[in-house]
Symmetry: D2
Subunit: 337 residues, 4 copies
């Protein structure tokens, strides 16, 4: 960390800041420029409270130098992390596609969807049993019944399942049914939940909050890693901007950026990211071209027939077409599908 | 809700959408313009899934008409809600100031701070026992020990206390110690937590998420209200924007807007909103002038001497000055302090 | 446009609004719901001032229904617009790559750069003679001297050139030298300039403002088109968000969205969009995979040796590699390079 | 500026960067930490190109230390700048209110409005003759005819006038009619225009771009100041965020922040900032309480009767009430109205 003193800071103020830094067990490195004195802090490995220093007289501001994440960083762990689930490998050469309905509605709906997922050569079944909803009046998911359906359909199709967990006390229950625990965008900074999945024996798919920076996403991963779970998959799902033709704005450069900063696998969710079915296909291709390790696709983003006959709703023909169009793009960047 | 059909939508497509809406139990109101057909949906009181309709052939987009919140709306509850705590009234004529340290560190620190709060004529003591921190390596708060200190200092000073609750399972514990339960910005869409405090017997101070809309804040309040707790205090604490000289951007117009849309009291947190002590005083005045019912002020946003001798850290002289400067502004808009 | 009346709006207020709409030459379509009255406005082709209606008593808000752009819309012009420059076609099957230095510095620098651009099989030479700079103390470009160098290098290499025009009075001058006039992001809503290039006899490369919506970009195109110039190329170059690891956030879904809403060609500028050289290659691939018609690449985003020996600075090897890696992606989506 | 080297940067890379910095005429200050080497650059007064350094091998990133504005900074000019116009003082103890219609429509409309402005004790008449409009099909203002009307009404009422100038070539014309030249939000980075008004003999009201940081606003002011015009008035008018209940988000903390960073007067435009008449009054009060030196208020943000009988449209009663309510707030913060 670097402390920038105000123009005209007195030598007493500078000495005071230096003394305080040493009192905190850090080294001091003074650099007096023509207009400003800069104080470099030589750390002792423990995080330092920027605001504590910023309150001191004569200080203009502080500038962090080191990235605050460590276990999640590529500096710390240079080789790619690869997450294996029953023979399936996420973060390797193969692009992994996870698809399925937003919410599990019934066994029939899910089974039919899963068959379409499988026949299109996708790899993982997704589906929500616990649903975070903006309105308390919206359908909140089937709960444990939904988990049982997911497990049953996994038996019948062989597809591993990923499903969201929303609260720390749900972690043991969801762990017994799911292959991958999903942390939703609204939960990315739910620290009690990150702690809980950090102690679970399951890979975690961690979605970027719609209001979170790349650094905060990596800090959320750091929470999970620091509690002992090193199987974390990062997911870019669009951030909130002023643009409103799309629901969110997919941050495509976050994909190569995350791959550079971190060793963890990165997947992209074009369904939530765009909110429009007819953008899912081009954005899926873009994600693969940008270096994503996988995709998370909503089989039917609330299709026309929903609760009644949602099973058709994956629109198998269209999804199969998407998968087909994805293959040459994957190959163009040296990957397989 | 209104459905805008694509230019050139066929009459079969229009009929299909109309049929689907009726199947969902709603009425249909057709309006054929020169370029587009518009279908108005006459609701049946239950929320409708926009995306389900948007997937249908020939649909360009849907436009919501009604506000999705109800219990929180002024339409539903025209008179102001007033929250009473041991004789203190939030949402009335008097501006309520809640002040104290970011984190409870020790009994001595909190007591000395509380005395400064009280002698400056502020009304509520704030202080964190459970702290949400971006880094897993930062101080996470004293936990229950912090709650015990808060309760002890309340005994000694008579100041009611507000403190954050971070997870559903903490609610019963925090409820036994605190007068007001605080939901932090990062938890505003933690639905399990909103549900839990909705069933608690304590007023709730609900902070706006740093990238949540006014509508989402009111929907989060709706969760709490719909679970039976009608004592909700809304808190504007700054939103995330591209501007980086300040930590967040206080959305000052959210204050009168929330007062127009809702009957709930509105307070402002200028400390987190700006992140800079020297902006807290002018923004506090602005908040009161804009119609806020109260303020949440961090006594020492991590002061210089922190854990060692943080008790001085409220800088009582400066806080007292802020309170003194606030009084004429309150009176200028017909309020008291 | 639709007018949503307040709950409890009186019939006199509703009648007033209806009368006002008719007075403006539009038709009225009333729809009385249980909670709100909705007034549909049947337009007469001329734009209507939303705020004028919103000021009326009893009105809650208005909702626009039609897109405000017309000449730029695909509804109006269903087939793709193709821009031809000396045999080169932008918006056809071939991906067009425009590359070169940020600023023209000297004839030698530009010529050497241009040869690298050409030998890597890129198609257009870019380079700034007039430079918009945040600081009045930064290098503002060589001006007309830079334009002369561009023209000379075009003679020597056969590459058409694109360069920025910053003010209406520069348009005639720049037109005499350049093949494509570039409107920079900061000028996207410089209406006097849009008017001027709308009357020029050159294709226009219109960059999206860094905080402009897709709709505002299309409205800026509409200005140019409505002044008679129908050769407009849209350019996504990243928008401003809260994320700060990258300079801007490339809005990748804007590419297919613009192609759906409009008939104009769409190119992407990954250099300004990311601000980091090592993200340019993956984002270039993503842009092509998402359906972009071309790329605008800064040969050396201010390379190490700048004014002294910037000629090497295109790093021809690396650019050639980028071009090479792009070809299979282009082919994977049915395009050529 | 500080250069942060990558972890594991070689000593050859470090030496290279140091050599390059010295070649640019700057001093070097090396600081080797445990994990990173930091290179401090001791400047020579000229701006340095960050990206040029960031391209060098082994460099992770650069961190600017000094603020890039100088003439606009309070460090450079500690006392407040006060702008005088015919005896009126902007930036002194008195709050200055500038009010009037969005667009000048006719002599009668403007005169009636101006009389209402004057009788409510406001100080300056605003009104647009050249109007920047998002749509090429909207009313673009009366042009020079509008300027003549402004000047005539100034004669009749004694109110100085402020009006927007949109292009460099309009500056001489507008200067002959107006007392204050307004630079609109969309023109804040129109550098040719900033240059032109920097050479004009009139005070300039510079509006913050809706997508611009506080630093960029000050850099735009720096352009004007550096061309010799030291009478610049800064205007906060709301920034673009994800929140859409209001048109823009007024950045209230920008007011005290600008007053701390700069010596220039600061006014606030609550009409464009909020887009809603019923938020203008509370936000006006907040602006004054936060330390603004003045307000810019749209007399009738497109009133109901517009072109026909807009003269009534200032709604004199309501504006007078706003002025009346503002006075005690001004006095509460030690100002007059």
């Amino acid at each position: 960390m670097i402390v920038v003193m105000k123009q005209g800071a007195t030598s007493a103020q500078i000495a005071n800041v230096a003394a305080r830094i040493e009192q905190l067990g850090c080294g001091v490195h003074l650099s007096e420029g023509e207009e400003r004195t800069i104080i470099g802090i030589i750390g002792n490995g423990r995080p330092l409270d920027r605001e504590q220093i910023e309150r001191m007289d004569g200080v203009e501001r502080t500038v962090p130098i080191l990235r605050p994440f460590k276990l999640a960083s590529r500096d710390f762990h240079p080789q790619d992390t690869v997450v294996s689930i029953n023979g399936l490998v996420i973060g390797g050469r193969q692009i992994i596609v996870m698809a399925g309905p937003c919410a599990v509605e019934s066994h029939d709906q899910l089974l039919e969807t899963a068959r379409a997922v499988k026949s299109a050569n996708a790899h993982v079944l997704r589906g929500g049993a616990f649903k975070p909803r903006t309105s308390p009046y919206s359908f909140q998911g089937l709960g444990e019944e939904g988990l049982r359906i997911l497990a049953a359909v996994r038996e019948e199709t062989g597809l591993p399942v990923v499903t969201e967990v929303m609260a720390p006390q749900q972690v043991p229950l969801v762990t017994t049914y799911a292959d991958i625990l999903q942390i939703g965008a609204r939960s990315m900074q739910n620290y009690a939940l990150l702690h809980a999945v950090g102690e679970a024996q399951r890979p975690v798919l961690l979605k970027r909050g719609m209001m979170s920076t790349v650094e905060e996403l990596l800090m959320a991963a750091e929470y999970i890693l620091s509690h002992g779970n090193d199987r974390v998959i990062l997911c870019e799902r669009g951030i909130r901007t002023f643009e409103h033709y799309t629901r969110n704005t997919i941050d495509i450069s976050a994909v190569p950026l995350l791959k550079q900063l971190s060793h963890l696998p990165v997947v992209v969710d074009p369904s939530h990211g765009t909110g429009k079915w007819n953008l899912v296909e081009p954005v899926s291709r873009a994600a693969v071209a940008a270096g994503a390790d996988g995709l998370l696709i909503e089989g039917h983003p609330r299709p026309e027939e929903a609760l009644s006959d949602g099973a058709q709703s994956l629109k198998p023909a269209r999804f199969a077409e998407l998968m087909k169009g994805l293959r040459p793009v994957a190959e163009a960047v040296g990957r397989t599908l």
